[in-house]
């Protein structure tokens, strides 16, 4: 009997994309193609992860990421428990590590953590016996969002090698931008960042970390020759913090409008991690235009998370066996 070609797994956690090799990213994306086929079936479920327990630990609000992880785990027949800080012992003062130890004692194999503080996923990874998946920690990292962006871009563009991707918006506070910078760079894409200076911060920091980056302050100029643009969500709090004169002024210079879309290269793809502020960073007609792949990003997110759960869970199981 011939066995399929395979990948040697050494990975236990998914905390960011900075420690992913190109081969590893490609393995995840290739696995996700098979997972996407399962999701298209009438009965979108396979028995692969029966008996594996996944706990979604969400300390920050989220609709799509939490539901996406829940659907991914269920499509693989894992057991899923949703934990939200509200209504739990966290309100009685239980610490993050205590909560983690309790979930560990209850038999959790994989913890999916969303937290408003950067570094919380790394902290749990130092103490948890199973696997940790970072579902967004502060302004730091959101690796599963970046992987689903890579999947969507590769699917549409054929490859990421030498493709020109623009990231526009609140780069300074964006975990989506950071994880995408690691992932896109590893996959050989060319990246341009575009933001008001107050939402970019120190230019040198970005260039020191990713020397091949381009930083452009005009969206029209940034979009020239772009194969795709990732539009980031603008948090309304940024204006209250004094980083923006007004949301209207931001929209005037940095919103992806249909005029700016038409001025760009005809096939340019539009991505947005959601939830969108329509009329602020993106015009409503752009969000549902033929070039928008925002809905596909959501569907692809489930497939990519299934691929990660599959690899991490089998690795854990084998170690335990």
């Amino acid at each position: 009997m011939t066995l399929p070609e395979s990948m040697r797994p050494t990975r236990r956690h998914v905390l960011d994309l900075d420690d992913f090799t190109r081969h590893e990213i490609e393995t995840v994306l290739d696995t996700a193609i098979g997972m996407k086929e399962i999701l298209s079936r009438e009965i979108a479920q396979v028995p692969t992860l029966r008996g594996v327990s996944v706990v979604n630990m969400f300390y920050e609000e989220s609709t799509r990421t939490r539901i996406s992880f829940e659907l991914a785990a269920k499509a693989l027949s894992a057991n899923v428990v949703n934990f939200t800080a509200r209504g739990s012992s966290v309100e009685k003062g239980e610490s993050l590590l205590d909560t983690m130890r309790t979930l560990q004692a209850l038999g959790a194999d994989i913890l999916v953590l969303r937290h408003s503080y950067a570094g919380t996923a790394h902290l749990l990874a130092q103490h948890f016996r199973g696997a940790i998946i970072n579902a967004g920690d502060g302004s730091h990292a959101h690796p599963t969002q970046a992987l689903l962006d890579l999947f969507t871009l590769r699917d549409k563009l054929g490859t990421l090698e030498r493709r020109h991707i623009v990231i526009v918006g609140d780069i300074l506070h964006s975990r989506v931008a950071r994880s995408n910078l690691w992932g896109l760079t590893t996959m050989g894409a060319h990246i341009t960042l575009c933001a008001p200076p107050t939402l970019l911060g120190n230019e040198q920091f970005w260039l020191d970390t990713w020397p091949d980056l381009r930083i452009v302050y005009s969206l029209e100029a940034a979009l020239q020759d772009a194969d795709a643009v990732i539009v980031l969500r603008l948090q309304r709090e940024r204006q209250e913090a004094g980083l923006l004169p007004s949301l209207r002024e931001y929209a005037q210079f940095f919103a992806l409008t249909s005029a700016r879309l038409q001025a760009a290269h005809a096939g340019m793809l539009v991505l947005h991690p959601g939830p969108m502020n329509e009329g602020i960073e993106i015009a409503p007609d752009v969000a549902i235009s033929a070039q928008s792949v925002i809905e596909e990003q959501v569907t692809n997110g489930v497939a990519v998370r299934m691929a990660l759960l599959y690899h991490l869970a089998l690795h854990l199981r084998r170690k335990g066996a």
Binding site: I38, V46, L314, H315
Partner: protein, 184 residues
């Protein structure tokens, strides 16, 4: 390969071609034509075999039988026993299998565990009228109550021997089936 002491050819290219032709005829005979038949190759080498059977059926019966590709990775029963995590590939079956005659096609039938996984995978896609199994080589040593309906060649083997199927679509070189004996 250095660990293998000797190899013996048990089927050459012509013999493989004749075996496939005979299997195609048997499929048409058993099912009174092939109007209801869907061929489903189990990845990887079942897929080119299914395509070759479909080509014969197209010549002989004048019917284009649909061919699908089945990946059984997510249904394996040894996922946690292996040293590596197997790659998941895509299942592609464009025809609804419900009420059709599904013929699973694979290169070698051995323990029967791959076929068990394939049966589970197919049943998740619909409710076929019948499922039949075609294999190029049956080497014995079943661990489950599974048998093939169409067999290219029955080959008695010992468990420590390896049956290697080479098909030009996926392997370099010519079509042939080898049996490799371990060093003594």
């Amino acid at each position: 390969m250095s660990a293998i002491a000797s190899e013996k050819e048990i089927l050459n290219g012509d013999e493989i071609r004749r075996a496939i032709t005979r299997i195609a005829h048997e499929i048409a005979e058993r099912n009174e034509g092939v109007q209801q038949v869907v061929l489903v190759g189990i990845r990887r080498r079942g897929v080119p075999l299914a395509n070759r059977i479909a080509a014969v059926l197209s010549d002989v019966e004048g019917v284009q039988v649909p061919v699908g590709e089945l990946d059984i990775t997510l249904y394996r029963d040894d996922l946690t026993l292996r040293a590596d995590v197997p790659l998941v590939r895509t299942t592609r079956i464009d025809t609804n299998v419900t009420d059709r005659v599904v013929i699973l096609v694979d290169d070698v039938l051995y323990t029967g565990r791959t076929v068990r996984a394939a049966l589970d995978a197919i049943v998740d896609l619909g409710r076929p009228a019948r499922i039949q199994l075609a294999v190029l080589v049956d080497r014995g040593h079943r661990e489950l109550p599974i048998r093939a309906d169409f067999v290219g060649k029955n080959v008695p083997t010992s468990r420590d021997e390896v049956v290697e199927v080479h098909l030009s679509e996926v392997d370099a070189g010519e079509d042939r089936v080898l049996i490799a004996h371990p060093p003594r």
